[in-house]
């Protein structure tokens, strides 16, 4: 079962790089924001999978919740900043 989670995590790891491509080369700011947001979501799942691999799920759930929260607030902040810039 540990191997299963390991392979799952490796697959997500590859997907993170695809999102990173979008975040670094993506045309326009909105694509970059969407890419960063997707990376945050994938990192969250990878953290949980790490918890399953190390048998410390209760610890990694705490970390991933904080990660999800800060990702959410960061995306909202970036979106509001862009909204404000559009008006000025």
């Amino acid at each position: 079962m540990g191997n299963f989670f390991l392979y799952l995590g490796m697959g997500l790891f590859v997907l993170v790089f695809l999102c990173l491509y979008r975040a670094s080369f993506g045309p326009g700011v909105l694509n970059r924001i969407a890419g960063i947001c997707a990376i945050g979501t994938k990192t969250l799942v990878i953290l949980l999978l790490m918890g399953f691999i190390y048998n410390r799920v209760e610890m990694f759930i705490d970390i991933s919740m904080v990660y999800a929260l800060l990702n959410f607030i960061g995306t909202i902040t970036a979106a509001k900043y862009l909204e404000m810039k559009g008006e000025a």
């Binding site: 209760e58 610890m59 705490d62 970390i63 919740m65 904080v66 929260l69 800060l70 607030i73 909202i76 902040t77 509001k80 900043y81 404000m84």
Partner: protein, 158 residues
């Protein structure tokens, strides 16, 4: 960034989420000694809840809930708790922040006194970090304008 947003989805979701975020922050502070986290992390999460409130409900309502003066008071108060516990240890005759000696006041065994002392210090750190996080964001969001208008600070133009 500090206007009231007219997006009802974000407003409602933030409204429902904020109490749970705050409770989670307190959980991170209180359980700092046997799970990841501690005073700083919990304080950051608590500050993030106020930042979320400011982002979604605008500057005015956020000021009513947590003004700049309150934030300054809280940051000093958190530092007071931290250094107070440290100095108490010093007065009791051991090193700064050496909680073992607190067992004579708390009437518990030294190991438990250490645990309680660390908890107190973490609460202080959490309060200070929360207030400082909020006031940093407040200053960035308002562009460094002093809260009382232009006459309360020296003129910036020269």
């Amino acid at each position: 960034m500090t206007r009231v947003t007219d997006d009802i989805i974000i407003r409602t979701v933030a409204r429902v989420l904020i109490p749970f975020i705050q409770l989670y922050a307190l959980y991170v502070i209180m359980h700092g000694h046997h799970s990841p986290g501690g005073g700083f992390q919990g304080g950051v999460i608590f500050g993030a809840s106020f930042i979320l409130y400011l982002l979604t409900h605008g500057l005015e309502e956020a000021k009513a809930r947590m003004s700049e003066m309150k934030a300054g008071l809280f940051s000093s108060f958190g530092l007071l708790i931290y250094s107070g516990i440290g100095l108490l240890c010093l007065i009791m005759g051991s090193n700064y922040l050496d909680y073992g000696r607190l067992s004579t006041i708390l009437r518990v065994i030294p190991a438990q006194a250490r645990s309680l002392g660390i908890l107190g210090v973490e609460i202080g750190v959490g309060i200070a970090v929360m207030a400082v996080m909020f006031s940093i964001f407040f200053d960035i969001a308002t562009g460094g304008e002093p809260p009382g208008g232009e006459e309360s600070f020296g003129d910036r133009d020269g």
